[in-house]
Symmetry: C2
Amino acid sequence: MSGHHRLVVTGAELDGETVSLTALDGTITAIGPDVADHTPADETLDAGGGMLCPSLVNGHTHAAMTLFRGHGDDLPLMRWLQEAIWPVEARLEEEDVYWGTRLACLEMIRSGTTGFWDMYWQPVGTARAVEDAGLRAVIGPPLFDPPDKPLEDRNRELEERLDQLASFGGNIATAVAPHAIYTVGTASLEYAVGLASERGLPIHIHLSETEGEVLDCVEAHGMRPAAYLDSLGMLTPSTTLAHGVWLDREELELIADRGATVTTNPVANMKLAVGGSFPYPEARRAGVSMALGTDGAGSNNSLDLMADLKTFALVQRHSAVDAEVIPIGEAWAIATGRRSELIGNLGRPGVPASDPLTVGAPADFLVLDPEAPELSLGNPTSNLVYAASGSAVKDTVINGRVLMRDRQIEGQEEVLIRARERAARLGLT
Amino acid sequence: MSGHHRLVVTGAELDGETVSLTALDGTITAIGPDVADHTPADETLDAGGGMLCPSLVNGHTHAAMTLFRGHGDDLPLMRWLQEAIWPVEARLEEEDVYWGTRLACLEMIRSGTTGFWDMYWQPVGTARAVEDAGLRAVIGPPLFDPPDKPLEDRNRELEERLDQLASFGGNIATAVAPHAIYTVGTASLEYAVGLASERGLPIHIHLSETEGEVLDCVEAHGMRPAAYLDSLGMLTPSTTLAHGVWLDREELELIADRGATVTTNPVANMKLAVGGSFPYPEARRAGVSMALGTDGAGSNNSLDLMADLKTFALVQRHSAVDAEVIPIGEAWAIATGRRSELIGNLGRPGVPASDPLTVGAPADFLVLDPEAPELSLGNPTSNLVYAASGSAVKDTVINGRVLMRDRQIEGQEEVLIRARERAARLGLT
């Protein structure tokens, strides 16, 4: 068994039974009440009666932006970007991104998120941090149209970044990430489509976050944003569109037809006061693949996706003036990455999109705190959606490794110290 | 010193300094870096470098409704009440309310709430639970127009309840609590005004939660709800109005003029899909006293007011399409009971409305977790409003007693067991 890693979890609750679970090299090999197995374990976890629970997948974030938390809090989107964020981002070093991402990883592990889709500067810093923290991520080096250099240079640098990212282990996947249609011109979007196709990579782009973006697109291209992307060949099952607040019915049907995903970020949208919310009922009717994201901690300001799941359900009920608009099971499936194969698989097309907590599925899961009062009564899924925050997670397992045990995470103290130092360097604290 | 209780807190952080705090019999007697005091303490708390923080006041809840969590989750307000809630409430016993409230108290202590305004059946059960748990509450036995008995009998029973509640200790205050204008007729509302005035008690009523309630009021009384209450003499500085979603500018000016409080419950309003949100910008312009509540766990489904504080700020930014509509400091002041003297004083008119964390103020406060990653960078108040949930609280002190120490609360296990038993008895699990 040398070189292999075997995890045994005992004393967990699943569907009202006490079960054990074993995983080998990151894949669940057995789960049930009668899992008797005498092979020695490399790692054990006593669940202490806590419920086994699928983990969450954050479909859109800028992890290192933990460093920017609270910076320019009360500004609307464009002023927030232009006045508070971009000037500081211009001074970012890879070590800033590394420690900001380590802090983000801590927060995600603590709140039950085991994988995420990221788009940020110095992506090698992100990848190093994700690898060291033990999470999974799909990392997209952002592609902007630079004001100050030829596109060829930008493209060469981007491709070098992608090559560097490709050298990381299996928990790190890569995406082509054109920032948005208002920051990337048609030629560069076409380049992104070609690059993604050539390298077999997914595309991760912001779309339709503000109404202004839609109006500008119609004026410039005579089409709404989704139609414009489709005209460039960008709407495929390998593309995820972050936000989608202002998508109309026709765009949703087009997106569904092409198999692309929309990742909604309700908290960031409300905080930046974009004025609308993702049209979930229409998207569901159209059959759009969907995921949930926090966006960066700079505009949220939390990375607790379980908390955001509640806000997602609430804002949908509120907007539709309909308490029945989003069934609890659907909300939970969206947050756990099961309403988008692309998002749920975290850029690992080889991995079967198995149901979580079954034999053959990746050993990414949670044990909930059996003592959490908010989980003590009622329907478990309802409690996860409406009553709990991420603090109800007791243990977090990713790829068959116990990353949080009884809410303790190795190395936490150093991460807090270094992240504070990097924020101070940037003048952010 | 016999009969007295003296608390000494050491190693806390306040405004960047390491401070100690002492409290005698529930009142802060000293706070600062140089608090040297050699009187023996009855109780000590090592804050471990955690920040001292004012505690939160929940302005509107039905604490025992923890038993109903998740019951009828996807129903709108009126169907939720009529189909899911009222039939079970008809079978409630005092012990149900006692253990449901004990569960609520656990959740509030864990999330930093030290006092709350309650309105629920079997209020003696509530009072016993609050006293045993060590919180503060203002308890209002609900006043409905009964379909099946003379008003005189109802009144006699209510007054007996108020007498029973008056026999509890100083942490329990009492309110007259007519349920709402759609469940209580004019004669009973007038009776409530008289009773409150005669006994020197505050009034706690639901108002303007749905648009239907407003339309019905205009049809029945030729006035909108706030004007109707004012015509009965109910709008005074001792009255708190829960919800206030559909108040118009004229009503807000009237409420401000009379000095009454509006307690907004944004999560419950969104969950029950009432279709609007409390008009905070107009209320603030009019100078209305304000507080924040969770409403009951049946319609929230959490009692974590720190989490709801974020939703409050988010829904206001979203509704106003204005990221600057609610300054962070204002949001925090509302959640800590400092934008309504009535709510903040928890029905103790003798207690000076001092700033929290000053000498002479009640010793109700929190120590935040110095290891919480979401608090590690940036502006502390912004982090409390936008980044933290109640799980960032490490220790909770109420009335000079340490009720939660390093997230452990005495008796928690029994509360979970008994609450489960009572819910099972009611057919709720």
